[in-house]
Assembly symmetry: C2
Homo-oligomer: 204 residues x 2
């Protein structure tokens, strides 16, 4: 190995593609849209519907939700308070990376605690739009697509958000939608308006 050439003559210096470069390539800004709300309040449905609407506008958008995160990146985590916090922390970090990559990323997690959401926001305060899916508990419980509210009411599931664990609604979300009353299309339009207001589609 001592015969290996020294490498000082080779230009091994750092070059990089910046967030702004990628935003120019994609034709829009990177941003996190953070959906929060009770189970069955429509977070994941809405996030996916928005991603479809954005795709039609040629916007590069990606949904992070239980289906692709909880069982993979965060599969080592349970549901203790500490693990829930770590779950949200990692999702926040991942969201930040997608924003840095110039993508619109939509996170759909209950994220019941204000302090956790605030932590995620502080990772990228200028690129974080919080959307509260504010369907009433009664509506969510009547939907109950996986029968989990029933299990929570029967005590089979413990510490279930909205039943025997708290949900702390955001005080000042960028958008609050009554997803128990509005249609998906109405909610999608409201999120698109929010993105317009924040000039996500405008590249300076």
């Amino acid at each position: 190995m001592s015969n290996s050439p020294k490498a000082e003559n080779l230009t091994w210096h750092q070059t990089a593609v910046t967030r702004t470069d990628l935003e120019k390539l994609h034709g829009h800004k990177g941003v996190t849209i953070w959906f929060t709300g009770l189970s069955a309040s429509g977070k994941s449905t809405l996030a996916n519907a928005v991603s479809v609407a954005l795709y039609k506008r040629k916007v590069s958008a990606y949904v992070l939700d239980g289906d692709n995160v909880r069982h993979y990146l965060n599969r080592d985590l349970g549901f203790s308070h500490e693990d829930r916090m770590e779950n949200i922390r990692r999702i926040g970090e991942m969201a930040r990376l997608f924003t840095q990559a110039g993508m619109v990323n939509l996170t759909a997690f209950i994220s019941p605690y204000r302090s956790d959401r605030e932590m995620a926001r502080q990772l990228q305060p200028e690129s974080f739009l919080e959307v509260h899916c504010a369907a009433d508990l009664a509506v969510c419980e009547s939907r109950d697509p996986k029968g989990i509210y029933k299990k929570a009411r029967n005590g089979i599931i413990k510490e279930f958000t909205g039943i025997d664990a708290p949900y702390e609604p955001p005080d000042n979300p960028e958008l609050r939608l009554d997803t128990g009353v509005l249609s998906v299309d109405q909610c999608v339009d409201a999120v698109l308006d929010l993105l317009e207001q924040h000039e996500i589609f405008i590249i300076r």
Copy 2:
């Protein structure tokens, strides 16, 4: 809350943008290029140089390395064997998400153990290209940009890969580059050739 309307009449079903949709939008496939090699072997430099070359071809590419991962997503992890494994696991999961989002993602981590890299590969075996930055230890040590080899030799840093901790070179990487001899441009060209071979630029 009992007065809230039932929501069965609202179309809260799931729609989604697929990986294939995003690949069409971006005009190329999503893939992980996994750079592995000793400290100072040029992984991060090469990953960034490739991302710049790809950007010039209008390819959406993003580098994951120590600068944006170790101190953020994985800041809770140390350097025990268990933590190193968890570090690579999370990076592998994150890489998979970027691939799913239709982006070329380049990871630049020492990732010294075959079993860890194999774990990352198995998360997305059809979209994982391993590139061994195979500069000799002597070259890496002579570069030593952060003075860490010196500290490892002096025993100030323990369990340093290549000095008193093993580096297990890949048996069958998709590409092996002697990054101690080749120029950055030569290496970039070789990686671009690899992507051509794997038809990353072709959308079917």
